[in-house]
């Protein structure tokens, strides 16, 4: 149960972090050419991939894998 709560909190935190209102008026440049707001959301996209990896690792329903092994899959893979 605590794992479920932790993962839910992680997803909600992801939604909150997307709003980054603290960067709204920040026009500073990172490395001299990359606006901070853009760099933040680029990093956010990478973090989103990380979050998905966490969900796949800790919240992947075992039933899906069972369906996979129960089904007689086609012989060839496209």
């Amino acid at each position: 149960m605590s794992k479920k709560i932790f993962l839910t909190a992680l997803v909600l935190a992801g939604f909150f972090l997307h709003q980054d209102f603290w960067n709204w008026d920040n026009g500073d440049l990172l490395f001299g050419f990359l606006p901070v707001g853009l760099a933040y959301h680029a990093a956010y996209s990478i973090a989103a991939a990380g979050l998905m990896a966490v969900l796949v690792k800790f919240a992947w329903p075992a039933e899906l894998d069972r369906i996979e092994s129960d089904s007689k899959g086609p012989s060839s893979e496209s």
Partner: protein, 519 residues
């Protein structure tokens, strides 16, 4: 003409992929419409991503960033990078599982079975099919316009549109889902590589981006482009709901049924945000760069800024490659055409007895005939309404909102035992009515629309800020209608379901066995 020849080469490759897929086909319904549920994980990742991308990802995003700045990336791209993989994880995997277990091919088949309904399923079929049509027409129009532009007018609009329609129709007709998935995979790889190449070569030609950004920052007109000042906070927040539409698009949902193994979804949800980053970051960044290099463009003109930057800063072959990349996005209409064909044959032809009466072979040929019919009709509409592309583009924006507001219906069907067909009906009617209302308000307030950078205007001054008109949309207290449409369909789904009888115990047990499929 060199760019046009590169595009011809590209079209030849995708046509070959369709014909090659045909040689591997088995002439069964499941093979034609779902590639026998056999897509391997890498084809699945790229095909699913490619089917979700449109010309807007390259052209529209850069044009919007040109006027509204870097916030466009957060508003449209990183929101999708977060929400779309979640919908694939929570909805796509379940659709795949039920499809594999019970033989569903479309969303409507699942909903009909899950809620023991017939006509409500037909209503959902009609709504989702109608919202898909503008994409197909815009695809043909985009093909004609792109070929006309990159050939300096030597290829007329009708010939370009006709050629694209013919190529798409051919590989969808022959290759079905397998051909479409392969073509989408090739297209995705193309436009992912393109972004990195374009940004590198343009940066090199401009002597680096440092000075460009310094100039933009020093100019008080362009400095806001490096921030989110030109995007209201409430609009930014509302946009986070738009990516809910993705999984409700029929072509995306049907694509989810094609995976051979559940494990294909694991890689998809992890790589999806990275693919979004690789495609959108160069588009948005170059759109902002263009505000310094090519100032003074109006909203419609700014959609071509990347092409202008490339023409001015790189070799002609790269402009041709861009043409092919744009064509790749435009041709995302392939999976939409196939989805319409699949829906018609499964949700109408087969459901109303055609498959039993005429057999499976007839079903596949009905699907193929539908593909031809839809493409030919789309071509003639694209010719007839050549100058009315704006209407279809607007229809697509409304369709995004409509599909997003249908997402709660799918979530209820998958996760809530007590949900009923009447709850679904109420939610669908709500979506239809609110879309019609938004469309009416949009047209009613067209003359009030403020220019870029100007504040929103009250549509009915007596109602205060209830309905505001911005440059591109109508808002409700500053929020986009999608927010209220999603909330409304959720509330109606819950309330009406609680007031109406649930499906039979047998059906509930079928979808919610003792060991339920749940996280």
């Amino acid at each position: 003409m060199i760019p046009a020849y590169i595009v011809f080469g590209y079209l030849a490759v995708v046509l070959y992929l369709g014909i090659f897929a045909f040689r591997r086909s088995k002439n069964s319904g499941e093979d034609y419409f779902l590639a026998s549920r056999s897509l391997g994980q890498y084809v699945f990742v790229f095909a699913l991503f490619g089917t979700n991308m449109t010309a807007f990802s390259i052209l529209g995003a850069s044009g919007l960033a040109y006027h509204r700045g870097i916030g466009v990336f957060g508003m449209l791209a990183s929101a999708s990078a977060f929400v779309i993989p979640l919908t694939i994880f929570f909805i796509g995997t379940r659709l795949w599982a039920y499809g594999k277990q019970f033989g569903h091919v479309t969303q409507v088949q699942f909903l009909r079975d899950r809620w023991e309904c017939s006509h409500i399923g037909t209503l959902i079929f009609a709504l989702t099919a109608v919202m898909l049509v503008p994409y197909i027409i815009i695809g043909v129009m985009g093909g004609g316009q792109t070929l006309q532009a990159i050939s300096d007018g030597r290829i007329p609009y009708w010939a370009g549109g006709g050629l694209v329609a013919l190529v798409v129709m051919s590989y969808v007709f022959f290759g079905g889902m397998r051909g479409t998935a392969w073509a989408n995979t090739f297209q995705t790889l193309m436009f992912l590589c393109f972004g990195a190449i374009a940004i590198t070569l343009i940066g090199k030609s401009l002597g680096g981006f440092d000075q460009v950004m310094e100039r933009l920052s020093a100019n008080e007109t362009t400095a806001p482009l490096l921030t989110r000042q030109r995007i209201p906070t409430r609009e930014f927040f509302s946009y986070a709901f738009i990516p809910l539409s993705s999984i409700m698009f029929p072509h995306v949902a049907i694509m989810c049924m094609t995976a051979k193994k559940a494990s294909a979804f694991k890689k998809t949800v992890i790589f999806y945000p990275i693919c979004i980053l690789l495609l959108w970051l160069p588009s948005v960044f170059l759109g902002v760069v263009a505000a310094d290099s090519i100032p003074g463009l109006k909203p419609g003109e700014s959609d071509g800024v990347i092409l202008r930057l490339l023409t001015a800063n790189t070799e002609v072959w790269l402009a041709g490659t861009l043409g092919a990349a744009i064509m790749a996005c435009v041709m995302a209409s392939d999976s939409q055409i196939l989805a319409l064909g699949t829906m018609f044959t499964e949700d109408v032809f087969a459901y109303y007895g055609g498959k039993k009466r005429f057999g499976e072979k007839a079903q596949v040929w009905t699907g193929r005939a539908f593909v031809v019919g839809v493409t030919v009709v789309a071509f003639f509409i694209a010719l007839e309404l050549k100058d009315k592309a704006g209407i279809f583009e607007l229809a697509i924006r409304f369709a995004f909102t409509g599909y997003a507001a249908l997402a709660p219906v799918m979530v209820a069907a998958l996760y809530w035992k007590r949900s009923t067909k009447w709850g679904a009906l109420a939610a669908v009617i709500w979506v239809i009515v609110t879309m019609a209302g938004s469309w009416y308000l949009h047209n009613y307030s067209a003359d009030l629309a403020p220019k870029p950078g100007q504040p929103p205007v009250q549509i009915f001054p007596a109602l205060g800020d209830l309905f505001l008109r911005t440059g591109g949309s109508v808002t409700i207290y500053g929020y986009l209608p999608v927010l209220f449409m999603c909330l409304g369909s959720t509330v109606l789904m819950i309330l009406v379901s609680l007031l109406t009888p649930p499906p039979s115990t047998a059906t509930i047990k079928k979808y919610f066995p003792d060991k339920p499929i749940a996280v």
